[in-house]
């Protein structure tokens, strides 16, 4: 019973994560981008908690709580504060137009399934889809980083990649050991602080968060 339930939860989580990754790529406005990013964190936390419940893994509750607070609330809120405080232009400004981006994204998903095909056949755990989706999410996060102009959107792409990695850990292996999970969470926190510091340094030095200006220094 619980095995079937677990399978369904993880599959649904995978579907939602993939959907949100596409939604992140499709956004035109900063605020809605941050909403979707926060939603991704919340979905991740919910899936983690449900997996913790069905697989009786108490360590995972800790991870779920950290994820909810850090990725679902704190980081989106801080990013929004920064955008408001630094008067960043509210539009996303993609370098490649959105329909083309979506097509590339779809191709990346197919590619991920192709690459991970040999693994799924021999999995003992319930990992149908999860590894493929996690890899697709990582690639979509990278796509977002390279097709957006602003430093902030790059960081959101980076954090979305971290989210997908976390999902890979939870979905494919029911969570990495607590030490690793805590380490990663700590790292995301510190990295965000460093990112924040850099936003201010970049703005003060280049008078904009537009990365094109940085390249043509």
């Amino acid at each position: 019973m619980s095995q079937i339930l677990l399978q369904q939860i993880i599959t649904m989580g995978a579907a939602l994560m993939l959907l949100i990754s596409f939604a992140l790529l499709a956004q035109k406005r900063m605020l809605s981008l941050l909403h979707w990013f926060a939603l991704q964190g919340i979905v991740l936390a919910a899936v983690t908690a449900l997996v913790a419940y069905t697989s009786d893994n108490t360590e995972l509750y800790v991870s779920a709580a950290i994820t909810l607070v850090l990725k679902g609330m704190l980081l989106p809120w801080v990013l929004w504060k920064i955008i408001r405080q630094m008067h960043v232009h509210r539009e996303v400004e993609p370098l490649v137009n959105i329909p083309v981006t979506m097509l590339i994204a779809a191709a990346l998903v197919v590619f991920s399934y192709q690459v991970t095909l040999p693994i799924e056949h021999l999995s003992h755990l319930i990992t149908r889809n999860t590894i493929a989706v996690a890899m697709a999410n990582v690639l979509l996060g990278m796509l977002m980083m390279i097709t957006r102009k602003k430093a902030i959107t790059q960081v959101i792409g980076f954090l979305a990649i971290e989210n997908s990695l976390f999902f890979a850990g939870v979905g494919a292996t029911y969570g990495m050991p607590l030490v690793a999970e805590l380490g990663v969470a700590f790292d995301v926190l510190i990295a965000s602080v460093v990112f924040g510091l850099f936003f201010y340094q970049i703005r003060d030095t280049f008078e904009s968060l537009d990365l094109n200006k940085m390249e043509n220094k």
Partner: protein, 487 residues
């Protein structure tokens, strides 16, 4: 056990202390003493390991064997000489107003934190912590690269942060896949990420999953090693950061990334029973060697030029570890040692040269030997040493690399030879112009601290003329360990 506490404790305590101590002389001394303590501790550990084999510390969370103790000692040594060098160098930067006392605190604290991250990664028995320590070392050096707050340094640090951030995420994905394979065998929990337990049951791990995991680990850690085509962060980070940072980036950080990769390779080799991981490393190595060789010719900035030479040598080591025979491993470790020694010494010299001429642009650096012979000869000797001229140690290790390659994959020698020749030609295209000739009028005398440089050269020379017996035994032990899959 006690030595180990010192090794991890000294940099951590020093980092905390230095974060609050802005006194230019005292903080430089604390920096030096902490580094020297770790060096003493690393020697203590080395003696223990050579006498009694692998040591497990703190409930098996950390372990020290012949392979990592060699790196720990090398790291501690270069960290110590860098601390000696950075005292007067950073004081000069403080005097000319490139940094203020707050930045000096940041510099010292982050240097020590970086050293702590290095030791943590090298001695940790847990793959998760190895990953984390690379990230700590990266974040610490990102802040160091942007220390001058110039537009160039901020752009370089941002590039470094983003590219290595993504690279290291891929390594985490690889680690998660590895855990996916190992938790089937070793059960759910910390055991499945513990090197020593993984090595013991490597043959039971699923080969398909391990191969895929290694692809991600290769790209992820390879980014940090500076392999092409993920190398683009490296020249910028080296050129824009303060000189001591360029020295430790080239001399130490790249080694840690390569070390992690080799550890993973040892595991994947046993699991797959094929030479897949080694082939991948050899491929990346050869590609990077050529890319670095050609790129070297196009540089204008002296630090960028030498950072491409770092890519070249890291590529050579990656290739050699990829061959995987005991001879190759021996050669690669020797090369790691000699490269770290010579390259950090070159960066020290380059730092002084740039201070004396007030620029890093190579066409404006002229007549160093006439201006300040210590710096000029240092640069010339260093360039000869890194180019692999006898009797320096780089020659010995490159000779061994060629022998190992000839033994196992003869055709690769052509590519190796081509890559090395192109790179050497690049070095000698620029360096003689900088060392000889008339002194330009804008040159000014700087207080050069060449002692660490000549110590490094002397050691490289010693390694080239005759490797001391105990050191050779040490390398043999480590090389056999790597070739034997860690058991």
């Amino acid at each position: 056990m006690n030595w180990f506490t010192f090794l991890l404790g000294a940099p951590l305590v020093a980092a905390l202390w230095l974060a609050f101590d802005a006194h230019p002389y005292r903080s430089a001394w604390v920096n030096k003493i902490a580094a020297a303590l770790t060096f003493v501790a690393s020697l203590g550990l080395a003696v223990q390991v050579l006498e009694s084999g692998r040591i497990m510390v703190w409930d098996d969370w950390f372990f020290i064997d012949a392979f990592n103790v060699f790196l720990v000692a090398l790291t501690a040594f270069v960290a110590t000489t860098t601390a000696i060098f950075s005292g007067p160098y950073m004081r000069h930067e403080l005097e000319i107003g490139k940094i203020d006392s707050g930045r000096l605190r940041l510099y010292h604290a982050m240097s020590q934190l970086f050293v702590f991250g290095m030791f943590l990664g090298q001695t940790s028995n847990n793959l998760g912590i190895v990953w984390l320590s690379l990230e700590i070392a990266t974040l610490a050096t990102v802040l160091l690269v942007s220390l001058y707050r110039t537009p160039g340094s901020i752009a370089a640090a941002w590039k470094y942060l983003i590219i290595c951030g993504v690279g290291i995420s891929l390594a985490l994905f690889g680690t998660a896949m590895l855990y996916f394979a190992s938790s089937d065998v070793l059960g759910h929990g910390d055991a499945a990420l513990t090197w020593t337990l993984l090595y013991a049951s490597a043959d039971k791990l699923d080969p398909t999953v391990m191969s895929l995991a290694f692809v991600f680990l290769m790209v992820g850690y390879g980014t940090k090693v500076g392999l092409a085509p993920m190398h683009t962060w490296l020249p910028d980070a080296h050129a824009e950061g303060p000189t001591p940072v360029s020295a430790v980036l080239s001399g130490l950080l790249l080694n840690l990334a390569l070390y992690s990769l080799v550890r993973c390779k040892m595991l994947v080799d046993v699991s797959t029973g094929t030479h897949f991981a080694g082939n991948l490393m050899m491929g990346f190595g050869l590609l990077s060697l050529l890319v670095a060789g050609f790129s070297l010719h196009k540089q204008h900035d002296i630090k960028r030029m030498f950072s491409f030479s770092s890519i070249e040598h890291m590529a050579l080591m990656t290739f050699t570890f990829g061959i995987g025979t005991p001879v190759a491993n021996f050669a690669a470790m020797l090369h790691m040692t000699t490269h770290s020694l010579v390259k950090s010494a070159i960066f020290f010299t380059v730092g002084h040269a740039a201070q004396a001429m007030g620029t890093q642009v190579m066409s404006n650096i002229r007549g160093l030997i006439n201006h300040q012979p210590g710096i000029g000869w240092g640069l010339l000797i260093g360039t000869c040493a890194i180019a692999g001229f006898p009797p320096f140690g780089v020659f010995t290790s490159e000779f061994l690399i060629f022998s190992a390659a000839l033994q196992s994959y003869p055709w690769t020698v052509i590519v190796l030879l081509l890559g090395l020749l192109i790179a050497v030609a690049g070095l000698f295209r620029f360096v003689p112009d900088m060392t000889y000739g008339e002194v330009p009028e804008y040159a000014k005398q700087v207080h050069a601290n060449m002692l660490p440089v000549y110590i490094h050269f002397a050691l490289a020379l010693l390694l080239g003329i005759s490797i001391p017996g105990f050191l050779a035994g040490w390398y043999h032990q480590a090389a056999a360990l790597i070739a034997g899959g860690g058991v």
